[in-house]
């Protein structure tokens, strides 16, 4: 055994450096920000954030060149024996994660520096987490999926506890860490079962093995369920959501925005990879399981959101419920008619949800600079002293509720379309449950609108809100994206067709 190992010459794998250029730029950028931060003085802290933002933008350049190089469509670039694949699916999501990261940097700029809270380390951890997400998009192997997941999670645990003198922030970090590690352990156990059954860690190999035996073995079922549960924590699906509201409330608000959008999206990316590449033959297992998760997540998330008086907690539960909607297509993804529209629906939902939710957080950050409060009532009278912010927030909330012509309607449309494409009693039932949930969700989004438009300012303080330029940029980006996605959804719905995901359903 040992002799054969030593006898074979180690052949270094051929690395397509163009293909992994975004990851390389991020890695270099992480080092650069860390080094530069050592040498800038307190007064020049803005350099760090600017540099972090630049790194993220530069990393999107190779994505553009890869997408236009023509090699990707139809012929995905595959590295390390198919364990790391750059296809259209991964490129779109990588670009999404980098842009989310950029907006989060814009949101953080004022917040973190004014708090004198180690901006250098903050941006390094943020970039690391984004690097993990970018890797997740291309990972096609249990090991690389796991590494990407840990890479994106571990910096998040620290970021959640960033306001270290605040006990709530400490609670946020600890809760997130403990439950995150627990979820990782469950998932790892599931992965080991899958490896034991399929004797390979390659996702497509697992997919092929599950077919080969003709029927599912008990160990495979367990493996699938554990893996889904593990990611269920990451996307805060009910009943694995309990960490989310406390973590969201305690973490610095830009990080909350980051968690509610990027971390969640990364969890969904992993779930898509599993469902489409590793489990295509196991739909009898994952479909009912995800169906139940989706129904529970959207309904319970909504009902809890209705009761919240704190805007951060309300948006936390709202994002739990939105997660339920994103899960919907996965519950029918194995049905032949719905596989394509399901993938498209999730991709479109993730993009639109990212723009809208980041926008909502940006408004909350802007308003909290004046009110220093997270209560919904603190938004009272906003229309009187900050009409622009009010209109933007109305757009974002209406988009989250799915009211045309703002982006969210198209996201909702896509998930309805997917489950109805699947048809059958399960599909129609899910659609009707989701329709009822849309109305419940509207009720709490409306509460916020009512506060802003119709109530007086709680303390009578109507001095205008001063918004720093970086926050204005974030508001502009997310606001324009929300409106444009709603009026011309065609520009994003081109992405996410089944052929974009190399290896989906054994293709």
């Amino acid at each position: 055994m040992l002799t054969t190992l030593f006898a074979s010459d180690f052949v270094s794998p051929k690395v397509d450096y163009h293909a992994i250029a975004p990851e390389l730029i991020l890695a270099a950028g992480i080092c650069l920000v860390l080094m530069v931060d050592l040498f800038v003085s307190e007064q020049r802290r803005w350099i760090t954030s600017t540099l972090a933002g630049l790194v993220l933008l530069v990393a999107t350049l190779p994505i553009v060149t890869l997408a236009t190089s023509g090699h990707v469509s139809g012929h995905p670039r595959s590295l390390f024996d198919g364990r790391y694949v750059i296809d259209n699916f991964s490129l779109v999501l990588k670009a999404l994660f980098l842009l989310i990261g950029y907006v989060v940097v814009l949101l953080s700029t004022g917040e973190i520096e004014e708090g004198n809270a180690y901006p250098g380390e903050y941006y390094v951890l943020l970039l690391s987490s984004i690097a993990g997400m970018v890797m997740m998009c291309s990972a096609r192997d249990l090991v690389s999926v796991f590494i990407a997941l840990e890479f994106l999670s571990i910096p998040s645990y620290m970021l959640a506890a960033w306001r270290k003198r605040d006990s709530k922030s400490n609670e946020a970090g600890v809760k997130y860490y403990l439950l995150g590690v627990f979820a990782s352990a469950v998932m790892l156990y599931g992965m080991s079962l899958l490896y034991g059954a399929a004797k390979t860690t390659l996702l497509s190999g697992i997919g092929a093995q599950i077919t080969a035996t003709g029927r599912l073995a008990g160990v495979e079922v367990l493996g699938i369920v554990f893996v889904i549960v593990g990611f269920g924590f990451k996307i805060s699906a009910v009943p694995f959501h309990t960490w989310a509201p406390d973590t969201y409330e305690g973490a610095p608000t830009p990080i909350t925005a980051f968690f509610s959008v990027a971390s969640k999206a990364a969890g969904f990316v992993a779930l898509i990879l599993m469902v489409y590449i590793a489990f295509p033959q196991a739909r009898d297992v994952y479909q009912p399981f995800i169906w139940v998760l989706a129904v529970l997540t959207m309904s319970i998330g909504n009902l809890l959101a209705l009761r919240q008086t704190n805007i951060v907690r309300m948006l936390a539960y709202s994002s739990v419920s939105q997660g339920g909607f994103i899960l919907m297509p996965l519950a029918v993804a194995g049905t032949k008619d719905a596989a394509g529209s399901s993938l498209r629906a999730i991709m479109v939902y993730l993009v639109i949800y990212a723009a809208t939710n980041l926008g909502a957080w940006a408004v909350i950050i802007a308003v909290a600079r004046k009110t220093r409060s997270g209560e919904i009532t603190s938004l009272g009278g906003l229309f009187g002293y900050a009409p622009g912010l009010t209109v933007l927030m109305t757009f974002f909330l209406a988009s989250l509720a799915g009211i045309p012509p703002l982006g969210g309607w198209y996201a909702k449309f896509g998930v309805f379309r997917a489950v109805l494409d699947a048809g059958g009693g399960w599909g129609y039932t899910l659609a009707v449950i989701a329709a009822v949930n849309t109305v419940i969700a509207t009720a709490y989004y409306i509460t916020v609108m009512r506060e802003m438009w119709m109530k007086p300012a709680p303390d009578g303080d109507v001095t205008p809100v001063r918004i720093p330029p970086s926050l204005q940029a974030a508001l502009a980006i997310t606001g324009i994206a929300t409106v444009v996605f709603g009026v011309l959804p065609g520009i994003i719905s081109r992405y996410g067709s089944l052929t974009d995901l190399a290896g989906a359903f054994g293709h």
Partner: protein, 540 residues
């Protein structure tokens, strides 16, 4: 289907022009109130001019065809198209929406309700106009859905910000009801698209023509369920009994302008949806549902009338009368005959003019007396003879006096219930004669009740001596009284119809008379389109 595509820029221009006005208004500072109002009214006027040009270019001998039609791709992956067009059914409602918006804005010149902020108020009205006009020209289900929903938020804010004391409750109720309906409606639309194989057929799309061609081929059992989703979506908007409970609250709390737009146009989006979408796309289900719709319609007529008799608030009374009137419209639609649907469309326009007018009057009464309590209002005719007479005129029109517009909505609707779709050889079967003839009798009783509640309202408010609490000695009011109590909200300033009111009201009053005397003006336009649309039922 044949379409006429000449001058096809005009519909998009007419629909989206108000957006340009909103953008201009965004850059005007909030303090320049007169400028803001001017720009808004100018935009609405320009939109109406485009509408009038549309009226002139419309080819009346081809009223059954979609004219000024545009059909381009919009969201390719889901096969939603930007297909628009205008036929004899859409034309009157499209123009009505433009007229009402302009008149409401003129009325608002010196009637911006509390808490002010004309910039937002006028901008919301312009956005509303985009949604309303767009709904009437959309010839694609997704486009229709988007426009249908665009009106939701502006109306929510109009009620919620500028409304009466109980405005927050009323606006929330309005919003949630409509949202519930439209969520189920969207599910139905997508289900219809998938069941007709619109997603796999190479020619499939969300365009109306696709569903007109393929909707009737769906198995009846499936179609009945898809119809159910649409029914809830549209019935909430109409509103039909038992989905009507949001309406009295919304109307009572809304500012005058909101009430007028709500009554004149927004309610019609629901009935228009039935005529344009539910009936022709799913005729097999429509035949099954029609007796049920007819039943709810006559329940609405009687319930609305009884509700009116019980009201103590003038505005709430008018709101309940809307429930009754929309019952007549729905009864006409439920007969599935050209006569009934023609009557329904006439009823929509007539109700828009008359009830819009009644809400204007209610608003003006509230402005002067600060109350709408019928018990406290007496002697309008003595105190404000012009307003009193206009109220009497509109009450007569509303109760369906022949030679005024309201008559031509109600009478043919009742008549059509005598002869609903029935006979031999109909592709989807006919309707039960006894059931509809019973509805006819009940609806006829409803008109008697309508005369009852409207005349009683008029008698109580207009006749008799003015209520002493509102009779102000002019000397006192202008010297000591006003000076002593300058901030008194209850300060009563009774004056007759003002100049802005005259400008806003005259077109409506003229319209009521003209359509009443010469109903053919409207029937001539709608009939070809209605006959064309209902051809699928095979009736006469």
């Amino acid at each position: 289907m044949n379409t006429l595509t000449s001058n096809n820029w005009i519909l998009s221009l007419g629909t989206f022009l108000p957006i340009a006005g909103v953008i201009v208004m965004m850059f005007i500072p909030k303090q320049e109130e007169a400028l803001i109002k001017g720009v808004a009214i100018l935009t609405a006027a320009a939109t109406l001019v485009v509408g009038i040009v549309t009226l002139c270019l419309f080819k009346y001998n081809h009223a059954d065809l979609q004219q000024f039609a545009v059909s381009t791709s919009w969201i390719k992956p889901i096969r939603a198209t930007y297909t628009i067009g205008l036929d004899g059914i859409s034309l009157p409602l499209y123009i009505l929406s433009m007229v009402i918006t302009l008149l409401v804005m003129i009325y608002s010149w010196n009637h911006v309700p509390e808490p002010g902020n004309p910039k937002a108020f006028f901008a919301l009205m312009l956005v509303l106009q985009v949604g309303m006009a767009g709904t009437f020209i959309a010839q694609d289900l997704i486009l229709f859905f988007v426009f249908f929903e665009v009106v939701l938020l502006p109306m929510y804010f109009m009620i919620g910000v500028w409304g009466g004391e109980n405005r927050q409750y009323a606006s929330l109720k309005f919003f949630l009801y409509t949202m519930f309906g439209s969520a189920l409606m969207l599910v139905s639309f997508i289900a219809l698209f998938i069941v007709t194989k619109g997603n796999t057929d190479p020619n499939g799309s969300f365009a109306f023509t696709w569903f007109e061609a393929h909707g009737s081929g769906i198995a009846t059992n499936t179609a009945v369920w898809i119809f159910a989703g649409m029914f809830i979506g549209f019935a909430v908007k109409v509103p039909m009994f038992p989905f009507h409970t949001w309406l009295p609250d919304a109307h009572t709390q809304a500012p005058t302008q909101g009430s007028v737009i709500l009554a004149a146009i927004l309610l019609k989006l629901g009935t228009y949806g039935f005529v344009r979408i539910a009936l022709p796309f799913l005729p097999q289900a429509a035949v099954k549902w029609a007796p049920f719709i007819g039943l709810l319609a006559v329940i609405g007529i009687i319930y609305g009338a009884l509700g009116c008799l019980a009201q103590t608030d003038m505005k709430r009374l008018i709101a309940f009368s809307s429930v009754a009137h929309m019952g007549f419209v729905m009864l006409g639609i439920a007969t599935l005959t050209p006569l009934g649907v023609n009557a329904a469309i006439f009823g929509m326009v007539a109700h828009g003019l008359i009830t819009g007018m009644l809400f204007f009057i209610a608003g003006s009464v509230k402005d002067r007396y600060h109350t709408l309590e019928i018990r406290r209002l007496t002697g309008l005719l003595k105190q404000m003879p012009k307003l009193g007479w206009i109220l009497g005129f509109c009450a007569m029109a509303s109760l369906g006096l022949p030679s005024l517009a309201g008559f031509w909505g109600e009478f043919p609707a009742i008549l059509s219930a005598y002869n609903p779709l029935h006979g031999e050889g109909l592709p989807f079967g006919g309707l039960s004669l006894p059931a509809f003839r019973t509805y006819m009798v009940v609806a006829a009783i409803g008109t008697v009740l309508a005369a009852g509640y409207l005349l009683w309202l008029y008698q109580r408010t207009a006749f008799g001596e003015p209520n002493p609490e509102f009779v102000v000695d002019t000397h006192l009011a202008h010297s000591a009284g006003a000076a002593a109590n300058p901030h008194d909200d209850e300060h009563v300033d009774i004056h007759d119809v003002g100049i802005y009111e005259w400008i806003a009201w005259t077109p409506l009053l003229v319209g009521i008379v003209v359509l009443g005397v010469y109903p053919q003006l409207l029937f001539k336009v709608t009939d070809p389109a209605v006959t064309h649309l209902l051809g699928v039922f095979g009736g006469k």
